[in-house]
């Protein structure tokens, strides 16, 4: 014989667990994917600053290099666990002349971006 209060407790527990199961997909979707990004500087220009931005926006975040630089001729840096708001992220590298290089990186897997002298920097127009 199951008492009425036990039935009520089981019902509440059922609702609670059901809610958690139903919310799991939403929770996993709210968690932004992270990715590792390696920038290799094979160009002859020193990279002084590095920023991230949503690909379709010009909302650059803080400088990722602080006072460090990515040396010309093969210097590199790997940023791990870069949080993505969407499926991709825009990486902006700024050289010693204040010119920019842009690269959109897919999130969820490690990426390497190699900057070479063939890339055309955006120095303004």
């Amino acid at each position: 014989m199951i008492s009425l209060s036990t039935k009520r407790t089981r019902f509440i527990l059922f609702l609670f667990l059901g809610g958690i199961v139903a919310a799991l997909p939403l929770l996993s979707r709210a968690q932004p994917p992270a990715t590792d990004i390696t920038i290799v500087n094979n160009s002859s220009r020193e990279i002084n600053h590095l920023y991230f931005s949503p690909p379709d926006q010009n909302n650059w975040g803080p400088d990722q290099l602080n006072s460090s630089v990515i040396a010309a001729g093969g210097g590199s840096v790997t940023l791990t666990g870069v949080a993505c708001e969407g499926q991709s992220i825009k990486v902006i590298a700024e050289d010693h002349e204040g010119c920019f290089y842009y690269k959109v990186v897919e999130c969820g897997e490690a990426s390497t971006w190699t900057i070479t002298n063939e890339a055309t920097p955006d120095c303004g127009s």
Binding site: N48, H49, Y51, S53, N58, N59, W60, G61, P62, D63, I92, E94, H96, E97, G98, C99, F100, D122, C123, G124, S125
Partner: protein, 251 residues
């Protein structure tokens, strides 16, 4: 005068004086003054010469006038203040034959317009060399004149300065020129979102000016900053002496 008589005549000269009422020969002229003294002058002829002059003031647009105590000279001089704006002044000349009244002269006492800046510092980011347009109304909340009322439409951008040079060949500010472009009508300016990444951020200073109908000019400034990077601290204004200034070509 000749008196005829049987025994001869007597001839005696006499002067006939015909008196005339005063006639205004100089009316006072309306004046606009920003501060200090104002002088109105009037004159009249007549016979006998008008011995009395009395200046009068109207504070109701000329509907009625009242005597100004002690104002009995051909010129009326007094210190102005804004409360006298719109008053009218006239002179009354009198002699034994009558009187004459000048036309009224208006006094306009304008203080310089008041410019109110709504946004004293705008951040421009990211520093990707892109132009951003700023209109007068983006920074100026109001412009008022006690002579002309709302003069917001008369506000112009008179100059814009940058605390960094336009293009430093050995610097880290890209390779651009014309970072400041004031529109031909001086109602807007294009500013390039750019800074030298070796310095402390760029600060543009926009100078707005407005001139009222009395010729009084008021200026005010607003800043547009390009931080070195997000989270890297606010741009530091090193003053226009460290950079350059572009002047608008509007009167």
């Amino acid at each position: 005068m000749v008196v005829n008589g049987a025994c001869g005549s007597v001839i005696r000269a006499a002067t006939l004086t015909v008196n005339t009422a005063p006639l205004v020969t100089l009316n006072p002229v309306s004046q606009t003054i920003t501060s200090g003294n104002v002088t109105f002058t009037a004159a009249a002829s007549g016979s006998p010469a008008p011995g009395g002059v009395q200046w009068q003031v109207s504070t109701d647009g000329g509907a009625s006038f009242s005597d100004i105590p002690g104002a009995n000279n051909a010129s009326l001089t007094f210190a102005t203040d804004p409360s006298q704006n719109g008053n009218q002044y006239r002179a009354v000349f009198t002699n034994s034959c009558g009187m004459a009244i000048t036309t009224a002269a208006a006094l306009t006492t304008c203080t310089p317009p008041v410019l109110t800046i709504s946004t004293s510092n705008i951040n421009l980011s990211p520093p990707n060399h892109a132009y951003h347009t700023f209109d007068v109304t983006d920074s100026v909340a109001s412009a008022t004149s006690d002579c002309d009322g709302n003069v917001l439409d008369s506000v112009i951008i008179s100059s814009v300065s940058s605390d960094e040079v336009e293009d430093n060949p050995t610097g880290s500010d890209g390779r651009t020129s014309n970072d400041i472009v004031i529109a031909p009508n001086c109602k807007s300016v294009q500013l390039r979102a750019e800074r030298d990444n070796k310095l402390n951020g760029r600060v543009y200073t926009i100078t707005f000016s407005v001139t009222d109908s009395a010729g009084n000019t008021t200026t005010a400034t607003a800043k547009v900053s390009v931080p070195k990077s997000q989270g890297g601290g606010a741009a530091v204004d090193n003053g226009p002496g460290a950079g350059y200034t572009v002047d608008g070509n509007c009167p």
